[in-house]
């Protein structure tokens, strides 16, 4: 009978955590659109949206309301189910990645210890990779189902780009995993608390990972899948209303999640330098941890936008050359050097 006893507290705490994390992802993605427009404006010596609410803070809500009330067109020649599945898949894949990210150490409620991570999977980083690859299907299916040659071409570009850059990304990650000896994001984050961050040991690996993260998120300079001036908006050309909104939204959620993954793996996660969590109460330390992680995430999101408004899109052959002829050999070299150094130090 003991096997059937259900830990209700665990289920409730996980449910609350899931709701909070999903809502936080959505709100941050929502305000990333506002942030993007504001930051773009500042980079171009403009003011940016400032009409809806104070400083234009209600702009994302207005945008969302507009998208919902737009006519939702499904083209006659499109495959209806795949057409709906595309954005749904993009959004789902973007949202479930956050399950393995440790947002802080743990809370103490009464005598119960509540870890601030939805699931501590021991292959956490592989899970992230798997789910992120699923996001490509959203683009592929959307582009295919639209029954439009521009969309299809953009989808093909997006897929081949994602595959090419995932390779270099994985290679750069292997070097990091040699260092940490664990695939669990929680362990990786915990190892860095109070120590040097992983970026100090793996600067080249981090840069390769960062570049690949840009490509994985379909952000400029790698936004060939939605090249608006050559491919008529790319894979979401036929989309309208909230389906279109989902695609755009998924991009921002992806950006948030990959920022969180980068912060966790290379920049110490919830670690704040010169702050020893052992000297403070667990709840206070957890709060500081969450704030520290969010600050790092916001910095990365800013970096994403900064790069977007600085450089133009790569040409397709440049993209492939960079991925296969530059980043992959560099990642391999980085991996070999790391392996040799680790072996040499352990001898």
């Amino acid at each position: 009978m003991t096997l059937l006893v259900i830990d209700w507290a665990l289920i409730i705490e996980k449910l609350i955590l899931i709701v909070v994390v999903v809502l936080a992802s959505l709100v941050i993605a929502l305000y990333s659109t506002y942030g993007e427009r504001k930051i773009a404006a500042f980079f171009q010596d403009r003011i940016g949206p400032n009409r809806a609410g104070p400083f234009g803070l209600l702009q994302p809500l207005a945008d969302g309301a507009k998208l919902i009330f737009k006519e939702d067109v499904i083209p006659n020649a499109a495959n209806k189910w795949l057409f709906i599945l595309g954005p749904a898949m993009s959004m789902t894949a973007a949202l479930i990645t956050s399950a393995v990210i440790p947002w802080g150490n743990h809370l103490e409620i009464g005598k119960r210890i509540v870890p601030l991570q939805i699931a501590d999977v021991n292959i956490g980083i592989l899970y992230v990779f798997g789910v992120v690859s699923l996001g490509v299907y959203g683009i592929m299916i959307g582009g295919w189902a639209s029954n439009n040659k521009f969309s299809l071409m953009a989808a093909l570009r997006g897929a081949s780009q994602a595959i090419s850059y995932e390779l270099a990304m994985g290679m750069s990650l292997i070097a990091l995993l040699m260092l940490t000896g664990s695939l669990s994001l929680k362990t990786i984050a915990a190892q860095q608390v109070g120590h040097l961050w992983n970026v100090c040991y793996q600067p080249l690996g981090f840069i390769i990972f960062l570049v690949c993260a840009f490509a994985e998120c379909n952000r400029t300079p790698f936004d060939l899948a939605e090249a608006e001036n050559e491919l008529n908006m790319g894979y979401h050309q036929e989309y309208s209303s909230m389906k279109m909104g989902f695609y755009l939204f998924a991009e921002y959620v992806n950006m948030f999640i990959s920022s969180a993954v980068m912060a966790t793996m290379y920049f110490g996660g919830y670690d704040l330098p010169f702050f020893n969590p052992a000297n403070h109460s667990a709840n206070f330390a957890a709060l500081i941890g969450i704030i520290a992680l969010m600050a790092k995430v916001l910095f990365f999101i800013f970096l994403f936008m900064w790069v977007r408004w600085t450089i133009p899109r790569f040409r397709y052959d440049q993209l492939m050359n960079l991925g296969w002829k530059k980043l992959l050999p560099l990642a391999l070299a980085n991996m070999l050097i790391t392996a040799v150094v680790i072996l040499w130090l352990h001898k």
Partner: protein, 187 residues
């Protein structure tokens, strides 16, 4: 070859080195440039609330002037219509009656005076042609409306308010208290 300016540079067509082909140094340089712009003062005016200051010779919408006693200066001589390269001006003249001496300056006046603002190219020839200083181009611009018909401005649309009898409207028409800097809007 002799160059026109001392700024010209020869294009370097040598193949990229490995570091260059990673694009990273160039990207970092570019990001430095954009970051400089990030902290620059925006060039935007929050338009309807804040208006850009214009030079005194700015040519905006037309104003029909009055003299010191508030009488219309226009005598409907038609020189402005003749000078107008866009043929935007039409008018009909009328003779002043004895009891209208406080309304019109000369014996002849414009009973009807119309400018088609969609035809007008705001060249200011009418202003130059006018022997009576009756027509001026103001600093008002962007005449927006919903129908093309409404862009044919009648005399009443352009006549400046009488500064003796409609003092407030006159001041408003001069537009003295419109803020012209961005800070004025945010204060």
């Amino acid at each position: 070859m002799q160059t026109l300016t001392n700024r010209s540079e020869n294009v370097d067509r040598s193949p990229m080195t490995f570091v260059e082909s990673l694009y990273l140094p160039a990207i970092v340089k570019g990001m430095g440039i954009t970051l400089k712009h990030f902290f620059k003062k925006p060039a935007t005016y929050s338009y309807p609330e804040v208006k850009r200051p214009f030079s005194p010779v700015f040519r905006g919408l037309h104003v029909l002037n009055r003299d010191e006693e508030g009488r219309e200066r226009c005598t409907a001589c038609g020189l402005c219509a003749l000078a107008c390269p866009a043929e935007a001006i039409t008018m009909e003249a009328a003779e002043r009656l004895p009891e209208e001496e406080n309304l019109y300056r000369e014996e002849k006046y414009a009973a009807k005076y119309e400018i088609n603002m969609l035809r007008c190219i705001f060249c200011g020839m009418c202003e130059e042609a006018c022997p009576k200083d009756a027509i001026y181009l103001s600093e008002t611009f962007t005449p927006s409306d919903y129908a093309r018909k409404k862009f044919i401005y009648a005399k009443e649309d352009m006549l400046i308010p009488n500064k003796n009898t409609e003092k407030e409207d006159y001041e408003k028409a001069l537009g003295k208290d419109v803020p012209t800097t961005a800070s004025a809007f945010f204060d």
